[in-house]
């Protein structure tokens, strides 16, 4: 709860104090504030004892606090790793932190009202961020697509919530569990419950860009400024999956009923994400499809809910840690390569191999996305696949196949990096934070137990 207040206060502060200041002035203060929020979330200190919030609205368990810490950490990382963009005002930083506020709310939600609020507070600033490059026609397109599709999916989510409300008579997730177990006991589900659940799921699946609700992702990711893209690809996924897991846990008594549907969606996401990733010519778009594939892998976590021998939330957490660090790093490297070469397609990597430090760090990032051992990505995938295998071997089989495919397109960047060394500029500088990303990836990869609650 304290972390939420800090993030929100920081957002307001940055928004108003930085209105006329260049972003570079507000960049490091924002990072420090977010780190502070993350630390507070980790420690579990309650700074606002005077504030009492009903448990049925929002509450943070120790697991939730870890998710909050991850959100704040990744938020800080995204802000730190990208160069300051605007010299006129820091409103974009403020918007990012506002969006983060929504994400933190979404993690702590116990109630459909809070879930809706969280999603919207998270999404509305993102619509603006997607279009923040106002003169750029691609950014415009990204904004309008994201907005229209996002608002539409919100409407569907709301209808689902209303139906659930009608079917269970409550908006509190915990109370819904009782109703659900009652229905599951008799094996008969009223149509309103089913419809509500499906529509709610559609709304959430849209947010995490699972197939077939993924169409917005590639277009929006490609068109938005890269920093916004990195933010969307990480923060929204973390918060979205946390919410999805929370809802799944609430309806855990009905797990037999939805399990196959989840597996099919996961398989579809994995196939489509990886196959489309293979044919892209723009690295940024490639990463968008890769994030769809990763969403597919993470959907497998939902299969573990209700299985006593697995801790679905800590497995998801580890995967999200691995995914979001590597993703941020990958987008940052793409931005760096674009600025260096002025190109948008894979030729941006040409001749990078002569810059030894850059290529080493970049390789680590992409290896982690692909899930090669000793990187964070492997640890995440290993725990996830190994546990999901006993529940749904077929889906895991597809996931492994998808991972295999993904290696092909992740490594494509290296083919360009090592193939043509003619146009090399070995002295291009890069941020030390990018080194930190690689170190973090190796650290998580070598000692995943430290990061699994």
């Amino acid at each position: 709860m304290s972390a939420l207040l800090i993030v929100f206060a920081a957002a307001i502060l940055v928004l108003f104090l930085g209105i006329n200041k260049p972003e570079s002035a507000m960049k490091w203060p924002s990072v420090i504030l977010l780190m502070l929020a993350g630390l507070v979330a980790l420690s579990g200190v309650d700074l606002a004892t005077w504030l009492t919030v009903p448990e049925s609205m929002i509450s943070y368990s120790s697991m939730d606090r870890l998710f909050v810490a991850l959100l704040c950490g990744i938020g800080a990382l995204v802000i730190a790793v990208f160069d300051a963009l605007s010299s006129k005002g820091s409103d974009r930083l403020g918007l990012m932190m506002l969006s983060l506020t929504g994400a933190v709310m979404l993690v702590g939600q116990e109630n459909l009202v809070m879930m809706f609020l969280g999603i919207e507070v998270m999404s509305i600033p993102l619509y603006v961020l997607a279009g923040s490059d106002k003169q750029n026609i691609f950014s415009n397109e990204a904004a309008i697509k994201y907005f229209l599709l996002g608002a539409f999916s919100t409407a569907i989510l709301l209808l689902g919530s209303a139906f659930l409300y009608g079917a269970t008579g409550t908006l509190v997730l915990q109370s819904m569990t009782h109703k659900a177990s009652m229905y599951a006991h008799f094996g008969v589900y009223p149509p309103m419950l089913v419809a509500g659940l499906v529509l709610l799921a559609v709304g959430l699946l849209f947010k995490v860009s699972a197939v077939p609700f993924h169409f917005w992702a590639p277009d929006v990711y490609e068109g938005s400024p890269t920093r916004s893209t990195a933010f969307m690809a990480t923060i929204v996924k973390i918060a979205g999956f946390s919410a999805l897991l929370r809802v799944t846990m609430a309806f855990e008594p009905m797990s037999l009923w939805y399990q196959n549907a989840v597996a099919i969606l996961a398989i579809l996401s994995i196939i489509v994400g990886n196959m489309m990733g293979l044919v892209q010519s723009s690295p940024k778009r490639m990463l968008a499809y890769s994030s769809i594939a990763h969403a597919g892998y993470m959907l497998l976590v939902l299969l573990l809910v209700g299985q006593a021998q697995f801790e679905a939330d800590s497995i998801l957490y580890l995967y999200l840690v691995a995914y979001s660090i590597a993703s941020t790093g990958a987008f940052a490297w793409i931005e760096w390569a674009t600025q260096r070469s002025g190109k948008m397609d894979f030729t941006m990597f040409n001749g990078l191999s002569s810059n030894r430090w850059a290529i080493v760090n970049m390789v680590i990032v992409f290896l982690s996305l692909a899930g090669i051992p000793l990187t964070a990505g492997f640890a995440g995938k290993y725990y996830l696949f190994a546990s999901a295998f006993s529940i749904h071997p077929l889906a895991v089989g597809f996931a492994l196949l998808g991972t295999l495919l993904s290696i092909a397109y992740y490594f494509r960047a290296f083919r360009f990096a090592f193939a043509d060394t003619q146009e090399s500029t070995p002295n291009a500088k890069f941020s030390w934070v990018l080194m930190l990303v690689s170190v973090a990836i190796l650290l998580v990869g070598c000692a995943p137990m430290w990061f699994m609650p």
Partner: protein
């Protein structure tokens, strides 16, 4: 004191020199590496009295755990490993000092010392480990260091080939060792020495279990200690710098196989068939290598074959059940063979990298110190009375005599051959006239003090090494010190030998006369008559056969390497290119094509997106509501 310090110091040296050696001055690099080997030597010495009471065991921690099998990272310093530790660190220190001068002009100076320290670290793990897993760890580690150091001058492709050969040959042996360890786990459920050996002594298993474990472990020893059929790598390993040959390929690493068998004394006593195998393999190796040594003209190659031959002798001792005699010869051999290698290094240094003994001669005037020490080494190895080699070899011969007369005969013959090839080399190198046209005799120089000092220390050890284990016919009170020292470790102990004193004196007479014959004959041939070894193209018949090492390399090449290469080429051309690669290419093309088809849906058109999303949601709703 904590045993980990013994390990930590060389590892520290490896780390410092490996990471920062390039920036440090050469003297610092060498001095650091030497002192980090010398300190463990001193520490081990101070532990002498403590070890005498009981073995020191370090605090173990779990190394890996699989099911019921718990393998610990655990060190143990007992009487046997103390001797090995002293040899490794003691001779190691001398060779480090020597290398400071020998490698002074080498560009890879720091790299050399970091490898040497890494080797010492791994060798210490091998002998200090308290279970077979630790032994295996060190076993592989020294193999790696050996590979790195043989190929130290890797710009020469032949040297790189020699390094690879050593590695591959060792891997074949390692496979045997590994299988042996698996069998131990299967039958005894542990790898810990104490557990396994007490289990072996207590519980009776079928005979074939003991025999097959013993043979498999011996296969490992064959690889590391260069026995038939895996010996061919050791002569080629002389491609490495000479100090490496002295340290790794004479004094320490190659004796790891002997250590392994002595350590597993219980097992081998219970597996007489395996022990017979060791005896015959050792005998054959000893003879074969001695024969080949007769016609080698590279000073280091002669010493290499001599090493193989002497290792064979140690295995003969093990085959007879004379464990302490094998350890005794291991120790004395470490002294005089290190001395000989370092002496040959000194010659090579003084002759500016000339290794062919046909191009030497008369060096005793130019390098007096090297000459004297080399003479001592030669006398020691050929069995000059009352030098170290005399005692250790005679102890082994005594056991062979007790075992069977014809084994004794062949062993004595091999010992005689040792004298012949050693004196041949010695006289050709140091006596006669100087025969090198390309390098003036005046330029030949004695080596610096840093190189001659280790020679003198080792010469003193070669002279006095016999004191370790004096036979009881010389002194009753202090006899067989080494055997008594090792006795508490053994469950069954050395095979007992009962020989009449008169027979014993007769055997001594035989040994001395064999030495005298070899000495006189070679002196007559190469000093008095002044003959020189023939050139390669003048050789014929048996000489050619020996000079070409019985064509064993060629045999292995056509028997194993060529067919395997052909198979590899076939799998590459047919299976891989036409099979797997074509298949994966096809898969790639299919996925790519499918991906492009899918990409058409992603048309950029919001309306299409919306319709598909709604249809999908409707489909899901329909399925869940009506199915």
């Amino acid at each position: 004191m904590n045993l980990y310090i013994l390990l930590a110091l060389p590892l520290l040296g490896f780390t410092i020199n490996g990471l920062f050696g390039k920036q440090l001055p050469k003297f610092v690099v060498g001095a650091l590496a030497s002192s980090l080997v010398f300190i463990p030597f001193v520490l081990a010495l101070t532990l002498w009295s403590e070890v005498k009471e009981a073995a020191i065991v370090s605090q173990p921690f779990t190394f890996l755990q699989v099911g019921d099998l718990n393998i610990e990272f655990k060190l143990m310093l007992d009487r046997l490993s103390l001797i090995m530790t002293l040899i490794i660190t003691g001779i190691g220190t001398l060779i480090h000092l020597y290398s400071m001068a020998y490698m002074a002009d080498d560009a890879g100076y720091y790299k050399f010392f970091s490898y040497l320290n890494l080797f010492i670290f791994n060798m210490l793990i091998l002998v200090l480990g308290a279970n077979f897993m630790m032994l295996f760890f060190g076993w592989e580690g020294v193999g790696l260091c050996s590979y790195l150091l043989i190929g130290f001058w890797y710009h020469n492709p032949d040297f790189g080939y020699a390094a690879r050969k050593a590695f591959v040959m060792n891997r074949i042996g390692d496979l045997g060792l590994l299988l042996g360890l698996f069998m131990i786990i299967q039958h005894f459920g542990s790898l810990d020495y104490q557990v396994v050996f007490s289990e072996i002594a207590k519980v009776s298993h079928p005979q074939w279990v003991y025999t097959s474990i013993a043979v498999l472990l011996f296969v490992g020893a064959m690889g590391k200690s260069a026995q038939i059929p895996l010996y061919t790598w050791l002569p080629d390993a002389m491609a490495g710098p000479t100090p490496v040959s002295a340290l790794i390929h004479a004094a320490t690493m190659v004796t790891a196989g002997v250590y392994l068998v002595v350590r597993s004394e219980v097992l081998y006593t219970l597996a007489p068939m395996a022990r017979d195998l060791i005896l015959y393999v050792g005998l054959a190796t000893s003879l074969l290598a001695a024969f080949i040594g007769l016609k080698q003209n590279d000073i280091k190659k002669v010493l290499a074959y001599s090493t193989v031959s002497q290792l064979g002798l140690m295995f003969i001792a093990l085959g007879c059940g004379a464990y302490s005699a094998a350890m005794f010869h291991l120790a004395t051999h470490a002294f005089f063979k290190a001395l000989l290698f370092l002496g040959s290094g000194s010659v090579i240094h003084g002759m500016h990298h000339e290794q062919d003994i046909r191009k030497m001669g008369g060096l005793r005037k130019a390098m007096p110190l090297t000459y004297v020490t080399f003479l001592i080494g030669t006398l020691a190895i050929s069995g000059f009375p009352f030098l170290s080699g005399f005692f250790s070899k005679d102890e082994i011969l005594l056991h062979t005599f007790h075992h069977s007369p014809w084994v004794y005969g062949l062993s004595v013959f091999s010992a005689g051959l040792t004298g012949i090839y050693m004196f041949r080399m010695f006289f050709l190198t140091f006596h006669g006239t100087y025969r090198n046209d390309h390098y003036a005799f005046e330029k030949v120089h004695e080596s610096p003090i840093l190189m001659t000092l280790p020679l003198m220390v080792l010469a003193a050890l070669s002279l006095s090494g016999g004191l370790l284990n004096l036979p009881h016919y010389l002194t009753h009170s202090h006899s067989e010190a080494l055997a008594h020292w090792l006795e508490p470790l053994f469950v069954f102990g050395d095979a007992a030998v009962h020989v009449e004193p008169s027979t014993e004196w007769a055997l001594l007479g035989v040994a001395v006369s064999v030495f005298v014959i070899a000495f006189v004959w070679m002196r007559q041939k190469y000093v008095v008559q002044g003959r020189v070894a023939e050139n390669d193209d003048q050789m014929s018949g048996s000489a050619k056969l020996l000079a070409h090492k019985f064509y064993v390399d060629e045999l292995y090449d056509s028997l194993f390497a060529k067919p395997l290469q052909a198979l590899g080429t076939w799998t590459y051309r047919v299976l891989d290119r036409k099979g797997f690669v074509a298949f994966t290419d096809l898969m790639g093309k299919v996925t790519h094509w499918k991906g492009q088809t899918l990409a058409r849906i992603q048309s950029g058109n919001i309306e299409l997106y919306l319709i598909i999303m709604v249809l999908a949601a409707a489909l899901m709703l329909g399925i869940e509501l009506f199915a």
